[in-house]
């Protein structure tokens, strides 16, 4: 018991010492309290996810039970099977993947060169350009959906991949440029200068030296573009209207909309899309956050 206490409190002293010394005892109680609070809060924070998991395992006749246990009685994967068989879930995932990959590719390519210009050159309009990038973040999200919708309609691209790619492609551009500029700024100029002395052009130096060195930042920008487009709902709702062309967000909303029959499939689908996103996010969160605070810390 005392061993366990020592383990949890992170103290060096042995259990008996902890209880004898009043200062140590206070410290122990403090850590115990912190752990209790942390455990309770963590539980509240991940409980909805656990619930989806447990609902996705329920057999069809138990969907509406008020059972709160994590693994229900007679747990089955029936919901997963029928999701993959009876709905177009795989097709929705494929649509999302295609649209998202294309937009991320376009977004990162455009951002990588623009950020290089902002990082290495002085030119008239530089400050104005950076301010434009920042202030574009203040435009309400819903505001540009209407004109984009009308443009896509006019171009006859409603309900197509291309319409979605066009609508998404620049939405993460300002933020990507911002992240990449911050990263390029940390690469010493002497590397390029050496390459220039050796006879390559400025563009060659960018292509052969800077881009390979920036792989981490490029992958973060790619991930950011990817998650933004992958999780988008509002534009898709407006542009896509046949269920064959749906992205997974629309598909899940539809499954949950028909609440009574599809609750289990909704839960199964949610699990299938959440787990990879969660893994990628947790893996990359450190860099994403440093990207978010980059501008502010330097300021």
């Amino acid at each position: 018991m005392l061993r366990i206490k020592k383990y949890f409190s992170g103290l060096r002293a042995s259990g008996a010492e902890v209880l004898r010394d009043p200062i140590q005892r206070r410290k122990f109680l403090k850590y115990l309290l912190i752990h209790l609070v942390m455990l309770a809060v963590s539980l509240v924070f991940i409980y909805p996810l656990l619930r989806i998991f447990s609902i996705s395992l329920r057999p069809g006749d138990k969907l509406f039970s008020t059972d709160l246990s994590l693994i229900p009685d007679n747990a089955t994967f029936v919901a997963y099977a029928s999701l993959l068989k009876d709905t177009m879930f795989l097709r929705w995932l494929w649509n999302s993947l295609l649209i998202t990959l294309a937009t991320s590719f376009i977004g990162v390519s455009l951002a990588s060169t623009a950020a290089y210009a902002f990082s290495r050159f002085r030119f008239p309009g530089k400050k104005a350009g950076l301010i434009l990038l920042l202030s574009s973040q203040m435009i309400p999200a819903g505001m540009l959906i209407l004109p984009l919708f009308l443009m896509i309609m006019k171009l006859k691209l409603m309900n197509t991949y291309l319409g979605m790619i066009i609508a998404y492609s620049v939405s993460s551009l300002p933020f990507s440029i911002w992240i990449l500029k911050g990263y390029y700024d940390t690469i010493p100029r002497s590397l390029e200068e050496a390459a220039l002395v050796d006879g390559t052009s400025q563009v060659g130096a960018f292509w052969r030296i800077i881009l390979p060195l920036s792989t981490p930042a490029l992958s973060i920008a790619f991930l950011f573009n990817f998650t933004t487009a992958w999780n988008e709902y509002l534009v898709a709702r407006v542009v896509l209207f046949s269920s064959k062309q749906y992205t997974w967000t629309l598909g899940l909303f539809e499954l949950q909309g028909q609440y009574i029959t599809q609750w289990g499939m909704f839960a199964a689908g949610s699990m299938l899309v959440t787990i990879p996103v969660l893994a990628v996010f947790l893996y990359s969160s450190k860099w994403l956050i440093s990207g978010l605070t980059l501008g502010s810390v330097k300021g």
Binding site: I34, M38, S42, W94, V170, F206, T249, L282, S296
Partner: protein, 395 residues
């Protein structure tokens, strides 16, 4: 087969974009390199408007003679600008920036300008066919703006009610995000075991796809099957006296939609603030606290006089960002209330804007509405940032 077809479609589009970018770079390269040649103007004025007219005909599907004049005038202006103002300087940075900024101009600036245009005209379900065929719309001046302040964007709720609700919504959410995030970050900043595990568990709401998180929570607020009501019911079973205090299962989605949305959004937003604040806390040097300990400062004194001032430069931008995000948060409210039979008791400005445009099809009205909301948000952000700069000067 269909999969192959979709790959061809998207890959073809990307190739098209690459070709477009190459053409664009060639266009600008010509202007940078040849601006002082004798044949610069004749070649530019002959070649580029023609190419632009062909491209426009390919994209729009019909040939419009008047486009010649627009493109000719535009090209004359651009060519003159390159010969007399730019003069071939800063070639490399401008060529590097061109694709991104043309993209932003087409998909961010142009839609914005188009929104302003729409707000002075009358586009609705009855005039949209006319607009599709002829491209022109009746001009109505400021009437849409007048309507924004006098009529309801949905069926009954007014602009002023929405404004008040939005301010309350933003303030409540940001307050709980910062308070919750701060408390959790302070706890996590202790030298405790399993810190990494706690941190990982606590960012789950932020890391989940928002659509899944909100829809799942919406299900959990269902009156019979949601765990919120199940727990409330169990509580009242165990402690019957709670019933007399008014505690018990409630019809969350129909009776308290805004409260439900707020709870969901607080749950979603705390992790971001926690992570940002934790980063700030970890960057504070421990020597400040050691010095304060020697002076005999209490925990709250240290919090007030060391932590607070030092965390401010990290906190202020995060709060600004959080305010803008919360103000703009259509997702939570639309996903909770947006279906047929959904209530409008929970709508804030931006979700009403979205519904006015796409549920009620009042396009021009919602354009004017959007401009008003943008002006408001711009004003709030500038005030915030101004305060932030002032705080920085002080430091």
């Amino acid at each position: 087969m269909e999969i192959l077809k979709s790959i061809y479609e998207v890959a073809g589009f990307i190739v098209l974009i690459a070709l477009g970018v190459a053409a664009l770079e060639g266009y600008f390269y010509y202007h940078f390199k040849c601006h002082d040649r004798a044949w610069f103007f004749p070649v530019a004025l002959a070649a580029f408007p023609a190419a632009a007219v062909v491209a426009a005909a390919a994209i729009l599907g019909d040939y419009q003679f008047r486009l010649w004049f627009y493109f000719l005038a535009a090209e004359a202006l651009i060519a003159a600008a390159f010969r007399y103002a730019v003069k071939g300087r800063h070639t490399v940075p401008y060529l590097l920036l061109a694709p991104a900024f043309i993209g932003l101009a087409l998909l961010l600036v142009y839609p914005f300008v188009f929104e302003v245009y729409l707000s002075f005209h009358d586009l609705k379900l009855t005039t949209i066919m006319m607009w599709k065929n002829t491209g022109s719309l009746p001009f109505v001046g400021l009437r849409q703006y007048f309507d924004v302040f006098t009529t309801s964007p949905l069926s009954e709720v007014t602009f002023w009610a929405l404004l008040g609700r939005t301010l309350v919504w933003t303030f409540t959410n940001v307050f709980f995000h910062v308070a919750g995030g701060f408390a959790l970050a302070l706890l996590l900043n202790n030298a405790i075991r399993f810190k990494g595990i706690y941190r990982t568990l606590l960012v789950v709401p932020w890391a989940m796809p928002q659509v899944v998180a909100v829809l799942a929570m919406r299900g959990e607020f269902h009156s019979q099957n949601g765990f919120v009501n199940i727990i409330l019911a169990k509580l009242t079973e165990v402690f019957p006296f709670l019933v007399s205090l008014g505690v018990g299962p409630v019809q969350w989605l129909s009776d308290y939609p805004l409260l439900t949305c707020t709870i969901i959004n607080v749950w979603l937003g705390i992790p971001f603030m926690m992570v940002v604040i934790l980063g700030g806390l970890q960057s504070i040097s421990s020597s400040y606290y050691d010095a304060a300990d020697i002076d005999g400062a209490s925990y709250f004194q240290k919090l007030r006089f060391i932590t607070m001032p030092l965390i401010k430069p990290v906190l202020m931008p995060a709060v600004t960002l959080g305010t803008v995000w919360t103000f703009n948060n259509i997702n939570v409210i639309y996903l909770v209330t947006g279906q047929a039979g959904g209530t409008e008791q929970a709508d804030i400005l931006v979700s009403a804007l979205y519904k006015a445009a796409f549920t009620y099809n009042r396009y021009s009205y919602s354009a004017a509405f959007a401009i008003v909301v943008f002006a408001l948000l711009f004003f709030i952000s500038v005030t915030y940032l101004h305060g932030f700069d002032a705080a920085k000067e002080e430091r």
